[in-house]
Each structure stands twice: as structure tokens, then as C-alpha cells.
Amino acid sequence: MTLQVRIQDVNEMHIEIPWSTGVEHLDSQADSWLYRIPHPEDHGLAEYIITPISQLTWQDVWVITIVTVESPGILGRVAKFLGDLGINIVAMNGCTIEQWRYHSIRLIVDCACYGSGVDRDHEYRRSHPEAALNHLKRVLAVEFILDVAPPPFPSVSIERCLTFWSLHQECLQAHAVYPGRRLSVRCGKVEFPESEIRRLVAAAGAAGRNSLKILVNADQSASLVRLFPFRINSGRVSLSLSVANRPGAIAAVTSALGEGGFNILASKAWTSGDSERTSLWLLLQNLGSRFSSVTDVEVVQDVSSLLTSLSSLESFELAVDNHS
């Protein structure tokens, strides 16, 4: 799973980060940056970004995956090749695979100083999210043609980190402020600054810190954690559901909720009971097109009546995760 969604109490100041090395002294040296994105329409409850990738590279950051044979010096050759093209490696992890025969290397690279006739230059790529690095991909494949797994094994892939590109676009908006702040990592977690909690509490109003929760979205593939603070009793309710596992079951539930006026803000699903059941966790917001439920109890009643009306749903179990 590369995406992990959860709700965390604002009093739990430690946020788990998926890019932790698991080695304390390495983690303590690694950068983890905190960025705040103000959203004035949410009355001061800013969104937060935690990432090891500095904002300075967000516009032109890419992920290169290359699978080579296990051979001394191969990593050095790949790194030198990229360096000669002006490509800076900002993060890397690699591991032997297939019983020591091959080596998979994943690199997060900053391409601001790289350009070619086909791939164009930084100026072009920063304003074109659809830009690709196909030439670079081919050059890598040719350079390491003897060192990669035999075709048609896909040995080189390059993908843009679109999440960072779109974050940068938000940064360009006049009201967005991104004061980068370095956090330290301990035991695989970063400590959310007390000053930011105070800022949130002030924005949330008189009820204080006990009235706040944080929706945490950890994206391992993008090396990014997004935090969405929200007020309890703001019409957002999380529910756990369990339905029979069959094609169309998730579609039936989510479509019914949508038609009933419930917007799904976050979700995750997994199978349970020896794959007999599908379990769903949903964070819902009632937008009130068919139901005007506000309290948790009312939401559960309305969702329950929605699901009961679904003839395609054989059985379901429903529970509310109480925020308060």
C-alpha cells in the first residue's frame, strides 16, 4: 500500500512518516520539511505538507526506476551518467532482487539543469505538467543495454512527481505562503510543532485543541504526508462498513452515498473474513441534497436507510467512529 489514510488526534503531536529508514541516526540526519498552505475559505485551518523533498525542486522532480543486473560499479555508473547530464539525485533507494540476480534502483531526481531537444528544458517542463522525459528514458536504456534485464522486461521507467508539481502551482497563488521548516525525525515520526498547533487551536475557536482532529494522508510513493486539520462536529463523520465481497459492491455503496448527498472525503477498503467480506472506512461530509443529518447519530441512520434500500447489497454492517 502506498497510500495510508487515517485520522489522528491533534494532541498526538508525532506524525509517522513512510520514508523513515528505520535507522535512528540516518533518520535524524535526513531532511523532513514542513510547509503550511493557508486556506482562507476554511477559516484559518491551514493544510500541512511534510516531505523530504525541498520545495526548491518541486517543479521538475521525477522518479527514475532502473532494474540492472547485480554487478560491481553499476550504481556508480548510473549516478555518474545522470550527473553528467546535469541531473541531481535528491533521494535514492536500491535493493537486490530476484535472488541476487538483479538490482532495482529508485531515484528521485531534480531535472532543473537537464535539457534535450525532445525532453525540452526546465522552463518548458515547469509550465507543462504533461511533459515527459522520454529521451532520457531511451538514453538510459541504450547506455545500460548490456546491464539491464533482457527485454521485454521493463527495465527503465521515468515518471513525473505530479503531486509536487501541483503543490508548486498552489504555491504560485497569491495567498499561499510556504514557510519551509525543517523537522527532525525520531523513531520514524516527526514532531508536529507546538506553535502550529496553537495556530490551529486559535483558528478553531473557543473549544480549544480537544475540538480538533487531523486527517493524515501518507503517500509513500511520492514521499509526502498531507495533513488536513478539521473541527469535530463540522459535519464530517467517519464510518466503518462491511459488505459481501463481490464485483460491484464498493460501487453500490459509494454511488448510493453520492446520490444521497454524502461526499466521501477519504476512504480505504480491504478484504476480510477470508476474502468473504469487503471492509470500507469512509470519512463523509453531508452536503444535504437528500438528507439533512448533522449529528453522528442522524448520519448513521441516514446512511443505514440508504444502504437498506439497495437491493443489490445482500447484507452490511455499519459503525460510526466517534471523533469526540
Binding site: L85, G117, V118, N134, R138, A141, V142, I145, L146, P150
Partner: protein, 211 residues
């Protein structure tokens, strides 16, 4: 990185693969043919994306007369300087199949990376008295028409060099709206010069559209 250096990288890599024995270096070079095929594929992809950076013109011809004429057309286009670029136009043809059995696939792969198609229609087959309004009594070689259709489908700009005397049914009805140059066998030079002008004009238009 200029694409010419990509082509030379391919050449070097090909040499390395061909020089090494199957099974050498601890089995590293196994699947030699697959690696060579991959190089071909990468080169074609690069050419396709590189269409305007290093432009290729596909030259289509058929029959004995077409083969004679190509000896002069090919170097003339190769001498053309790319407007706004540093080099000259490259030329591709459907020849040199090298053992491939599927000719259509081969031709399509050759056409795809090009940006401009030049079809040379020469009088190849007499029509036994069938005449069009302008006195055309010959059919051109079929490959030129077939390849023109493929090129059109792949989005290339099309130019024809049409010999006087070819029946209009073979080109005017279907391709009459396409830019063309006419020529006489006794003096093809003016027609060839005009084709070269059309190549440059089409290229400038393509650049303007992609900007």
C-alpha cells in the same frame, strides 16, 4: 543532447552486443536478438518524437522510372538545410528490408518517424487507350499510393511529384488538394526544385504549429 549523439549511442551499443558471444560474461548477453530489437525500437521512438528537431523526409517511389529518378531526388533533399536548424534534412525510404517478411509493417515503421512524405509518381503502367481529360494514359506504381495512405494516417505532411501523363483517377480525385509538383521526364529539374521548396514550406508550417 542532440539526437545525432543518440544515433551514435545506438551504434556503439549495437556493436557491443554484436561483438559479444551468446552466453558471454556470465550470461549477461543472453537474448542478443531481443536487445538488438529493443535498440531498433528505441531508435524509431526517438526519431518519431524528434520529428521536428531532426526532420526526416520519407521518399516513396515505384517501378523502374521511379528508381531512376530517386537517384537525383534523394541527394537534392538531403542537401536541403533545415530552416532554423543546424543540419540538413534526413531521408528515409522503404527499401532495405533485411530479411523481414512483413513488408507493410516494415514500411509503416520507416514512415512513422518522418514528418514529410514525398511521393514520386512516374508513368509505370500503360492503360491501353484509357485517357483522362488532360490526356493521361498511364498508371503509377501502386506502392506510392499505398504508402501515401499510410503516411496520411500517421499524420505526415504529403507532397507529390507527378509525372505528366498519369491518369487523373490515380491521384487527382483522391490527392488533388495536396500540394504537388508536375514534371516531364525529359526535364524533371523544375519539378524537383519546386518539391524542395514545398518541403521547406511544409516544415516551416509544422514548426509554427508546434510552437
Amino acid at each position: 543532447m542532440p539526437s545525432e549523439s543518440f544515433a551514435s549511442r545506438i551504434k556503439v551499443a549495437r556493436k557491443h552486443i554484436e561483438e559479444l558471444d551468446e552466453g558471454a560474461e556470465g550470461g549477461r548477453i543472453s537474448h542478443k536478438d531481443r536487445r538488438l530489437d529493443l535498440l531498433d525500437q528505441l531508435l524509431r521512438e526517438e526519431q518519431r518524437e524528434n520529428r521536428l528537431v531532426e526532420p526526416y523526409v520519407f521518399l516513396s517511389f515505384a517501378g523502374n522510372e521511379g528508381e531512376n529518378l530517386i537517384q537525383d531526388v534523394l541527394p537534392a533533399i538531403r542537401r536541403l538545410r533545415v530552416p532554423g536548424g543546424s543540419g540538413t534534412f534526413k531521408v528515409e525510404t522503404g527499401m532495405a528490408i533485411r530479411g523481414r517478411t512483413n513488408v507493410l509493417d516494415h514500411v509503416t515503421e520507416r514512415i512513422a518517424p518522418c514528418c514529410i512524405f514525398v511521393g514520386i509518381m512516374t508513368k509505370e503502367h500503360p492503360l491501353d487507350g484509357v485517357k483522362d481529360d488532360e490526356g493521361g494514359t498511364f498508371a503509377p506504381g501502386a506502392w506510392v499510393l499505398l504508402e501515401a495512405g499510410i503516411a496520411r494516417g500517421l499524420g505526415l505532411e504529403i507532397i507529390f511529384l507527378v509525372e505528366n501523363g498519369i491518369h487523373g483517377s490515380f491521384w487527382k480525385n483522391a490527392f488533388g488538394h495536396i500540394r504537388q509538383a508536375k514534371f516531364d521526364r525529359s526535364n524533371y529539374k523544375p519539378g524537383l526544385d519546386f518539391v524542395c521548396e514545398l518541403v521547406l514550406e511544409h516544415y516551416r508550417e509544422l514548426r509554427a504549429r508546434s510552437a
